[in-house]
């Protein structure tokens, strides 16, 4: 019986609690001097990988965290290792050269091959670009099974059962390794890294690579024309009581 070799791709994004602002030239969202953290869905991915090891229904040989991002992305890789990843790979890509989901998927395809991974767990979307594509693209390129928006994962031997969140409820799928899973919010509750584990993570291996190491170059297919602030809603009114609310809603034509 084969063991799980899990690859967990993670992304450094603007912290979810921070309100993003568009720069003056309308070319991007301002990221300098803004708090960054691990994409929330990626925390769930790491946590799930660690739980798979703890459950041990199929032995986990290795959990490798991966990020393609600016030099600072190594901070989130350290966090991932403090939560329980064994080692990590960092493909250094400057922020201005950020990859598109298809580029990331092509890079991951090479990494999967190199690391001989048989399970890739990704977040269902990154909260900056909100594209929600990378996992599905990777599964397509690898011609592997995929289960997106997973809220429950169980692995017995090579057999995988995943419950997915779909419109209107949940559905359950059964498939076989190797596969790609993307995580939804309800999958688990990520743990906090303890101080001893944070210290230990500093000693874990973090390998630095470049796109060229994987024989890839950036090849952006989408060009940003502009980034703008969304239209702001006009400040509304506060009413005194329920009657006031009903009459105001009627006035606005909502009732």
């Amino acid at each position: 019986m084969s063991k799980l070799r899990i690859l967990v791709p993670i992304k450094r994004v603007i912290d979810y609690a921070t309100k993003p602002h568009v720069n003056r030239t309308q070319t991007a969202v301002m990221t300098a001097n803004v708090k960054h953290s691990m994409n929330p869905f990626d925390e769930l991915s790491i946590e799930e990988a660690v739980r798979l090891r703890e459950r041990n229904t199929t032995p986990v040989e290795e959990i490798v965290a991966f990020s393609a991002g600016p030099p600072k992305a190594q901070d989130i890789l350290r966090t991932a290792m403090a939560i329980g990843a064994d080692r990590s790979i960092h493909v250094v890509v400057e922020e201005k050269d950020a990859l598109e989901p298809l580029g990331v998927a092509k890079l991951l395809q090479k990494v999967v091959d190199e690391q001989k991974s048989n399970l890739v767990i990704l977040g269902k979307q990154s909260i900056d670009d909100d594209a929600g594509q990378t996992g599905q693209m990777l599964a397509g390129l690898l011609n592997w099974a995929q289960a997106t928006q997973a809220s429950k994962v169980s692995i017995e031997g090579e057999s995988v059962t995943v419950t997915r969140e779909v419109d209107g409820g949940v559905e359950t799928l059964k498939t076989k390794l190797p596969m790609v899973i993307t995580t939804d919010l309800r999958l688990n509750e990520p743990r906090y890294a303890s101080l001893p584990n944070i210290m230990k993570a500093k000693k874990k291996k973090l390998e630095k690579k470049t796109l060229a190491d994987y024989g890839l170059a950036e090849n952006l297919k989408l060009k940003t024309i502009k980034v703008t602030e969304p239209p702001t809603r006009k400040g509304g009114v506060k009413v005194e009581d329920v009657d006031g609310m009903i009459s105001k809603l009627k006035e606005l034509g909502a009732l």
Binding site: Y16, K19, P20, V29, P101, L102, A105, K124, Q125, I127, D130, A131, G132, Q133, T134, Q136, M137, A139, G140, A145, Q146, T148, Q149, T161, R164, E165, V166, D167, G169, V170, E171, T172, L173, K176, D184, L185, R186, K221, L222, K223, I225, K226, T228, E229, P230, R233, K234, G236, V237, K238, V239, E240, V242, D243, M245, I246, L249, L252, A254, L255
Partner: protein, 349 residues
């Protein structure tokens, strides 16, 4: 029908004539291919999923020919139904039970075959659970960088979509020859479902085996309007304190208004409401005539899913809750008093 692509195509054609240069063949074929959309429709147990018709609306906004696609057992019947939808020229259907559950492992290669055969330049699908699951896989197989959840079409290669939970609006231009796009349903209202007369055609079926097997589903049953397309939505948050209170207060209010019920992430995480009711960045996007919420503070992730509502009304006991910055009508008060009172007064009308 307003058609951006047609305008720009004309413009391009005119420029070519004016330039009096010998026009080369590739340019002509590029023009001929320019306006060919495939709209991927969803079906469920032989019934057309009406919300997936947003893909057709996107096609009509772009201009040019629109072919719709449907697969599954009973696809022919669904195609007959979809043939009446206004704006569709042709429907490709593939009758095969293997496609009933929309498994991406076989559905994606099926789409790729039909896209290649039809020579489409644009492939639209709704940004639903189905579209989100399948389309990126299709895009990767076509070596195309998908554009997700668009809200506007500026021209045949330029599209508008929200990023950062709707806190920024991105306009992007695609250089892909086949543009794979998912559309936000609330931004592309369904077309008229009669008056059309599309031709039916059987599609190619590569019959790829799926390694994944569909086991079961558990869908929340409700007689209420569908959350994604309802005219009115009432939504509850953490302030409701428990599932019992949520169930006691929200359904009667929804009934009084004929509204769908939604919830904030906090309410879903605390088990007050089903996951499928979550409104926000990672849940459903809604844009009803009226969004009435109680006990929701208004975190940016929640606002992402509802701030395009026509009228927003909020009941919250915290006068400084961020929800009041977007609400057209705000009532500061205890929802345990105000919601039942509102329900009674609405019923009495």
């Amino acid at each position: 029908m307003f058609s951006v692509a047609r305008q720009s195509v004309l413009r391009r054609a005119r420029t070519q004539l004016r330039s009096a240069q010998p026009t080369t063949l590739p340019q002509y074929s590029a023009l001929a291919r320019l306006l060919s959309t495939l709209a991927v429709l969803e079906q469920r147990e032989g019934k057309l999923n009406v919300s997936s018709l947003a893909a057709i609306t996107a096609g009509t906004k772009l201009g040019g020919s629109i072919t719709a696609f449907v697969a599954g057992s009973g696809a022919k019947a669904v195609a007959d139904e979809a043939a009446k939808v206004k704006g569709v020229d042709k429907i490709i259907y593939v009758e095969n039970g293997a496609y009933d559950k929309g498994l991406p492992e076989n559905f994606a290669p099926l789409l790729v075959e039909n896209i290649k055969k039809g020579g489409f330049t644009h492939v639209f699908a709704g940004h639903s659970a189905f579209g989100k699951n399948i389309m990126p896989r299709v895009a990767a197989l076509l070596d195309s960088q998908q554009i997700s959840d668009i809200t506007e079409i500026e021209s045949e290669d330029t599209f508008v979509r929200p990023i950062y939970a709707g806190n920024a609006i991105l306009t992007v231009q695609s250089s892909d020859s086949i543009k794979v796009i998912t559309v936000r349903g609330t931004a592309f209202p369904s077309p008229e479902t009669d008056g059309g007369s599309a031709a039916l055609e059987e599609g190619v079926d590569p019959k790829v085996e799926s390694p994944t097997e569909w086991v079961s589903e558990d869908l929340a049953k409700s007689d209420r309007p569908d959350l994604g397309s309802a005219d009115k939505v009432v939504s509850g948050g953490r302030g409701l304190k428990s599932k019992e209170e949520f169930d006691r207060l929200m359904p009667p209010l929804a009934d009084a208004l004929g509204a769908a019920i939604g919830a904030s992430r906090a309410a879903v995480d605390s088990g007050f409401a089903d996951n499928s009711l979550q409104v926000g960045q990672t849940g459903k996007n809604v844009a009803p005539q009226l969004y009435l919420c109680a006990g929701i503070s208004g975190a940016i992730q929640h606002l992402a899913g509802m701030k395009d509502s026509k009228v927003i009304a909020a009941i919250n006991k915290d006068p400084d809750a961020p929800i009041f910055q977007v609400a057209d009508v705000g009532l500061v008060g205890d929802l345990f008093d105000k919601v039942p009172e509102l329900t009674e007064k609405l019923k009495a009308q």
